[in-house]
């Protein structure tokens, strides 16, 4: 079966990306234009097929494979009818050039080649660690992966009873992308590496932005690679978090809007970007708000003829932009209907007046951060404290989710000065496009909630990247060589101080590698991560067993078996008698509780369950 899943995964992906790329090639798109269309069309098809199947509770391996093979084959048939057979031959002949051309460039530019090699080595290392370990990140095991496992259990993406508001409230764009490999492989082995292709997408987008703003290509491609050498980017590549995905799409949207001539198809792609931004995180709306003035400017200035009035110029493109946004808007409409707030579990206030009920994001964050923080008070003081990296986080300088680590030395030493000098030059030379793009970045940064938090505001790196690319064009040859050498040295500092990805020191990686080679049970990785309670459940739980979690959970996802053949449920109840009845009716075999939950107290007095594991956080019970 494993071989069948693997073969289907490869075949479906080759068909999906191949046909999308063939279409991009046939429509004579080149470079970034071809890449963005191939990437977004493929992502669009993945999400659309999952959404349609999920709506009818058919989201599982066979329907997903069949539907995507049908869509890709139909697209291929249409392409063959529209274009000559020579086009396919030309396309196949052009494929080796995708590898040969960068190699030729690398041969001419050794510093770029060295940085590219460091990038590829970093990605290879993250892939290696990612393949060895299951998803072990906090939010992933709390709600990102739990949603994916729910889909595996029920075959749809509807809301089910849970004690974790995030699980039902969070928009699911990132999860839909992670879901792709999980459904096709029936395994989570690739689920926490979905941000890697988006990081590559972000790098290419930044290259395109820099070139559109006037940077020379050789400087743009060097500066764009520096995006990967931000500690939080490297650390997030082996997680189910969605921050890299989000900012990469923002860069992609910006690159699209800076394209010289926008076609109707480009508007569709912009719609897909907006949809993804909305569906990945509710703060994606801030990025759309940031891109909107540029979109309006482009629409008003790129009419095909003067006979079109401004209304047509503005309204017609939205006929292409809005339909793909349905997926992104769905999650907010669903939340509004079901929970009374589109951004549930958060509420929304304007000037102190509640528009939607619930704590606002700022109030939630302030409560969470102010409880025990060494951060100074004051917005600028906090940003400075974090950017100068004055404090570690649970023994790690860098992590995928830390209050204290900033954006690393490449940002602080090279990109901040580049931004300052570029801004000065842009104002002096009255380059209003450059000033405007800078204003977009800083406006979004200013209004972004808790903007000292590096994983939320790592988009600001984009401003540094295009600024550095522009500045390098103004330096002497020696100056450029020095900047590139310094960038390489700082990239090495970042790389070596992040290779352990905080949670994967080399000793642990080695032990996991040896365990994997000897064919250890996958859940032994939980032991290596200090999650013995989940290992207990995972080892004892059999196919079709029902495992329940309580009203105060930390992690839910590890309760599923690695092959997703057991069921995991939450039993909502305020009284012990009602709860006991439901537990009996649902044939619960195992119960994982945190020590402070009400279910824990009830289970201690229940004669139907016996304790089989207890540690400082959890107690696991098994039905007698």
């Amino acid at each position: 079966m494993v071989l069948l899943f693997l073969v289907s995964f490869i075949v479906v992906n080759v068909l999906l990306f191949g046909v999308a790329d063939l279409w991009s090639f046939a429509t004579k798109r080149k470079g970034w234009d071809r890449f963005v269309s191939t990437f977004l069309l493929s992502v669009g098809q993945i999400i659309a097929s999952e959404f349609v199947l999920g709506l009818f509770s058919l989201l599982s391996w066979a329907p997903l494979v069949i539907l995507n093979v049908i869509i890709s084959s139909a697209s291929l048939y249409l392409l063959s009818k529209t274009y000559s057979s020579q086009m396919v031959r030309k396309y196949v002949c052009s494929l080796p050039r995708l590898v040969i051309n960068p190699l030729k460039e690398a041969h001419k530019d050794w510093q770029w080649a060295a940085l590219l090699l460091l990038c590829l080595s970093t990605i290879a290392w993250v892939l290696f660690v990612g393949l060895l370990f299951p998803p072990l990140d906090f939010d992933g095991n709390s709600y990102h992966m739990t949603f994916i496992a729910n889909v595996m259990q029920y075959g749809n993406f509807h809301d089910y009873p849970t004690s974790l508001a995030w699980l039902n409230g969070y928009p699911k764009g990132g999860e839909f992308l992670g879901l792709w490999s999980v459904v096709l492989l029936r395994s989570d082995v690739l689920a926490d590496m979905i941000q890697i292709p988006f990081a590559i997408f972000g790098i290419y987008a930044l290259y395109s932005v820099a070139v559109s703003l006037g940077a020379r290509k050789e400087h743009a491609r060097f500066a764009a690679l520096l995006f990967l050498f931000v500690p939080v980017v490297i650390n997030q590549l082996k997680t189910t978090y969605v921050d890299v995905m989000l900012v990469s799409l923002f860069f992609g949207g910006l690159a699209l809007l800076l394209t010289k001539k926008l076609s109707k198809f480009d508007y569709v792609l912009i719609g897909i970007v907006f949809s993804l931004l909305l569906s990945i995180k509710s703060t994606g709306a801030l990025f759309i708000a940031g891109l909107f003035p540029l979109l309006l400017y482009r629409l008003l200035n790129t009419g095909t003829t003067q006979k079109h009035g401004w209304r047509k110029k503005l309204l017609l493109p939205f006929a292409y932009i809005i339909p793909p946004m349905f997926f992104g808007l769905y999650w907010y409409i669903k939340n509004l209907v079901m929970y009374g707030s589109p951004i549930y579990p958060f509420g929304f206030k304007v000037l102190g007046h509640s528009i939607f009920p619930g704590k606002t994001f700022q109030e939630f964050a302030a409560d969470a951060v102010n409880q025990s923080t060494v951060l100074p008070h004051g917005c600028f003081n906090r940003i400075w404290f974090v950017w100068t990296e004055q404090k570690d986080w649970f023994g790690c300088m860098y992590n995928y989710d830390t209050n204290y680590a900033g954006l690393g030395p490449v940002w602080f030493v090279l990109l901040i000065p580049a931004i300052l000098v570029t801004l000065f030059i842009a104002v002096r030379k009255k380059s209003w496009l450059l000033v405007g793009i800078g204003a977009v970045f800083w406006a979004v940064f200013a209004i972004y909630p808790i903007n000292y938090y590096s994983r939320y505001t790592l988009f600001i790196i984009g401003a540094g990247v295009y600024s550095l690319a522009i500045i390098m064009g103004l330096l002497s040859k020696g100056g450029v060589r020095f900047v590139r050498s310094l960038a390489l040295a700082l990239a090495l500092v970042v790389l070596f101080s992040n290779l352990a990805l905080c949670n994967y020191p080399f000793g642990t990686v080695r032990k996991q590698f040896v365990d994997t080679i000897r064919g250890a049970h996958p859940s032994e990785a939980f032991d290596n991560a200090g999650w013995a309670a989940f290992n207990t459940v995972d080892r004892l739980s059999q196919k079709n067993d029902v495992v329940a979690y309580d009203s105060a959970p930390y992690f839910i996802y590890p309760l599923w078996r690695a092959d997703f053949t057991n069921d995991v449920v939450y039993i909502p109840s305020q009284s012990q008698a009602d709860w006991a009845k439901q537990v009996h009716a649902k044939h619960v075999s195992f119960y994982l509780t945190t020590l402070q939950s009400r279910e824990h107290k009830w289970l201690l007095t229940s004669s139907n369950f016996i304790s089989i594991h207890k540690d400082g956080l959890y107690e696991v019970f098994e039905a007698r």
């Binding site: 004055q390 300088m397 030493v413 000065p417 000098v421 500045i471 103004l474 100056g479 080399f506 080695r510």
Partner: protein
């Protein structure tokens, strides 16, 4: 005119490098806190483990 442009370019280069060196000094000298030093030591330690692991595998 040409020499003015050249001077302006040199001034840009000079300003940029003054800022770069200032930020380099701030990052690696002024704010080199004990926790940062501890972390860099740990990084060195991890690299030694990796190195020993690789050479061990080779042997």
């Amino acid at each position: 005119m040409k020499s003015l442009k050249r001077d302006s370019k040199k001034l840009t280069e000079l300003s940029f490098f003054v800022l770069v060196f200032t930020f380099l000094w701030l990052y690696f000298v002024v704010y080199m806190t004990p926790s940062r030093i501890t972390w860099y030591r740990e990084m060195k330690n991890q690299l030694m483990i990796l190195f020993r692991g690789i050479t061990g595998l080779g042997g």
